[in-house]
């Protein structure tokens, strides 16, 4: 059952009078000089992006920060007399980040990334996993930034029969807690309003004399009854009260607000003690929990400090366990929709069939839309192409420049719109529905021997569409080594551009079986490369751990915004390279250097691989974009009937070489950005060596066996 009425949600009590009126949203002609930056923070899949997109009804401006590793969106809305920038930050479990996406959020929140200064945080929580999310809340409160908690997916929690004592939760954390259903936009704007009120209040309080605060906390201390102090393990602190707190396992309902309030002080106190006994000064550490995680690095000879840290982490989990027991209750255990579906989706018997079925459909649809759009686009391009060529005809030395820009832009659009966009679309659909983590679980075992985990499997699948988007998808991979490894190997996966060439030459002239052989060959090479790279670069073995979220109905708005973000980062990183590349190559043929290049390469093409001289230039063009290899082959021979100018064996050898010899320029550009120049160069060298070796060997073998 799905709720239809927004009144079903209890509105946060203190906020009944701040209704969502349009006057609150946009008051034109008002000078809004005050700026605020608000961050949406929460675990992956808690609904942050949906929350963010629901605010776009009020937006005046959106921007995105493609970033070097993980991109995120921002939107600007006007609330009261503020201009508020809202950031949809990558998911985060705690401030002790363990992957790159989390690191981005961490750096922005702690102001290590100076481009943002966060004034307030909305912690988006998936209500059904409130206890787990409180771990992050405990970290966030140490940041000294105003926070409002959004209990999101409240509809889902209702259906599951979950109960949350919201007033109690508010009392314990002394923070506003608001139930939201971001997929319907319910209470999302209200949450923003509430946070702004809180920011205003905090700023006002800040100016109040600090002495009055001090006396207040003294009062607190008097009211609080010290628990019994028995069996104390560590006497590291001179503050008895803190020592006592550390070793409690269960806290009473009345103790909790006090504990939470002092939790931050406990960490600070501990940090001060720790850093007084080492050379490291507390200022060096941007934030307390992160600093604690590095005790081993900062003070390797003080193992006891790490032990104390572990005690404190336990304290944190004890606190949240206690809180949960008072504010959170699961409903009657009953079989859920998830359990029912997962019985088949995650089973050994039917799971793999469903996996292949889903991917077959997704691929088919992506290729179908891709081919359809590519055809339509060819017609439009043909028109412009003629027009621009006529125009550039008598421009002399500028002609290659104009044509280069044209070819670069058209080439980019030719790959991006037809193939990349449908692929990202269908993959985002699978991602948002919750299937991707399940797929990872199904395939993880098979990938283990190759030194990668299922985290990068999405990249390998996307690689069949376009290597560029595949490498960009690796951002979610758990750690750097795995990203590098997968990023080096993905170019070996036969992308749709190469499929076009294979279809025309191999399937067209040699038959479908040879086409399948090529696909298998490329996959085999890719996995062999994984083994080889692992052996030489000695990357440590990766572990795999991922949450399996509930199935959810994806929102189109979310998916489109994801597609847009990824498309934009492609435009920024790959397109300029493609355009520069085409211009260069146009000048090469303008100055008629191509003849020299052909004869220069002939040692390689003719002597080693037994190909005609003319294949040199097409292979050079293939570096730009693989399908250019085919186009240039036609123009080099002046015919589309390749069979009349090349033997079967030559066609085969040419295709094997073309399949493997180098990633295309756009891929190289993205690789450089994502895995760094060094590993990109390794990857290119490996491609070239393997292409030469394999095409040479297969050429000789086929000659001996006389099968072609």
């Amino acid at each position: 059952m799905i709720m239809k009425n927004s009144k079903n949600i209890e509105i946060y009590q203190g906020c009944q009078n701040c209704e969502l009126t349009s006057t609150n949203v946009r008051i034109k002609n008002l000078k809004r000089t005050k700026k605020l930056t608000i961050a949406l923070v929460g675990q992956p899949n808690s609904g942050k992006s949906t929350f963010f997109n629901s605010l776009s009804n009020y937006k005046v401006n959106t921007a995105n920060y493609p970033g070097t590793t993980v991109g995120f969106n921002s939107t600007t809305i006007y609330v009261k007399d503020y201009q508020v920038e809202i950031l949809d930050l990558p998911g985060l479990y705690s401030l002790n980040y363990s992957d790159l996406a989390e690191k981005i959020t961490f750096e922005i929140l702690t102001n290590s990334d100076k481009s943002f200064k966060i004034d307030g945080i909305i912690q988006v929580i998936e209500t059904a996993s409130l206890p787990h999310s409180l771990l992050l809340t405990m970290d966030l409160i140490t940041l000294d930034i105003p926070i409002v908690i959004a209990l999101n997916m409240f509809d889902e929690a209702r259906i599951k029969g979950i109960n949350v004592n919201i007033p109690k939760l508010q009392e314990i954390f002394n923070l506003p807690v608001i139930p939201t259903i971001s997929i319907k936009g319910e209470n999302t704007f209200l949450t923003v309003l509430k946070l702004i009120e809180l920011i205003e209040k905090t700023r006002k309080n800040h100016s109040i004399d600090s002495r009055s605060k001090l006396s207040e906390s003294n009062k607190d201390q008097q009211n609080y009854k010290l628990p019994d102090m028995t069996n104390q393990k560590l006497t590291y602190y001179n503050d008895e009260k803190i020592n006592n707190l550390l070793y409690k396992i269960h806290f009473s309902e009345n103790e909790l607000p006090y504990i939470v309030k002092n939790y931050k002080e406990i960490w600070k106190k501990l940090m001060k003690d720790i850093f007084q006994s080492t050379d490291c000064h507390i200022e060096n550490c941007k934030v307390i929990p992160a600093c604690l995680m590095n005790i081993e690095k900062i003070a390797p000879n003080m193992i006891s400090l790490a032990n104390i840290r572990d005690e404190l982490l336990k304290l944190k989990s004890n606190i949240i366990t206690s809180i949960s027991s008072f504010v959170f209750s699961l409903g009657e255990p009953k079989p859920t929709f998830d359990d029912l579906v997962d019985k088949y989706v995650l089973s050994k018997k039917s799971g793999y069939f469903i996996l292949f079925g889903i991917f077959f459909i997704a691929f088919y649809l992506a290729y179908f839309t891709g081919n359809f759009t590519a055809d339509k686009m060819e017609i439009i391009f043909g028109f412009f192409d003629n027009y621009i060529s006529n125009f550039s005809e008598n421009l002399g030395i500028l002609k290659p420049l104009i044509d280069g820009i044209k070819d670069g832009i058209f080439g980019g659009i030719g790959i991006v719109i037809p193939y990349l966009i449908p692929f990202i679309f269908f993959m985002s659909l699978l991602e948002d529905s919750g299937y991707i983590p399940r797929m990872m679980y199904l395939v993880n075992d098979f990938l283990k021997p190759f030194g990668i985990t299922a985290r990068s499997v999405l990249g390998f699948v996307l690689g069949l569409g376009c290597n560029v988007s595949a490498i960009m998808s690796l951002r979610g991979a758990m750690n750097n080594n795995e990203r590098i490894l997968a990023g080096m190997v993905i170019p070996f996966i036969t992308c749709s551009a190469r499929t076009v060439v294979l279809m025309a030459l191999v399937v067209g002239y040699l038959g479908a079986l040879w086409g399948i052989f090529m696909y298998i060959l490329a996959f085999t090479v890719a996995f062999t490369m994984l083994l080889i790279i692992n052996k030489f670069l000695k990357f440590s073995m990766q572990s795999f751990m991922i949450h399996i979220p509930s199935y959810r109905f994806p929102s189109l708005k979310n998916i489109l915004s994801k597609v847009w973000l990824r498309f934009k980062s492609f435009v920024y990183s790959a397109w300029p390279v493609l355009i520069l590349g085409t211009i260069t190559i146009n000048y090469i043929s303008y100055f008629q250097i191509d003849g020299y290049i052909n004869s220069f390469l002939s040692f390689f093409t003719t002597k080693l691989l037994g190909l005609p001289d003319e294949t040199g230039i097409p292979l050079i063009f293939g570096i730009l974009a693989k399908e250019y290899a085919l186009v240039m082959l036609f123009s080099a021979f002046g015919t589309q009937d390749i069979k009349s100018v090349m033997t079967n064996l030559q066609i085969f050898t040419f295709c094997v070489f073309m399949l493997l010899y180098t990633p295309c320029l756009s891929t190289i550009a993205v690789q450089t950005r994502e895995i760094g120049l060094k590993y990109t160069i390794y990857s290119i060298i490996l491609s070239f060596l393997s292409a030469t070796l394999i095409s040479f060997m297969l050429n000789k073998l086929i000659q001996i066996w006389k099968i072609l």
């Binding site: 705690s94 002790n96 787990h132 799971g351 679980y441 199904l442 572990s543 795999f544 751990m545």
Partner: protein
């Protein structure tokens, strides 16, 4: 320790990289239920009962967790509280 399908365990201790396990909800004292193992049995699917969370992880990560058997009766008692 040889973990079995459909059995409930209590996490007694995490021996290494405590913070990472904590991020994913594997916290000392929590109950976990092994739902399934896939294909060669190296990837494990489990539920963190108190946290209402489902988790897939490689078996070598389980090696850093000291688990203790929870008798079924004890488990249901816990549940009723």
């Amino acid at each position: 320790m040889n973990i079995e399908k459909n059995k409930v365990y209590r996490i007694k201790k995490i021996t290494e990289n405590y913070p990472l396990y904590m991020n994913y909800g594997l916290i000392e004292g929590n109950l976990i239920k092994i739902i399934d193992k896939i294909s060669t049995g190296k990837t494990i699917y489990l539920e963190i009962i108190g946290f209402n969370r489902k988790l897939a992880l490689s078996d070598e990560l389980i090696n850093n967790i000291i688990l203790e058997d929870v008798k079924n009766t004890e488990f249901t008692d816990d549940n009723e509280k």
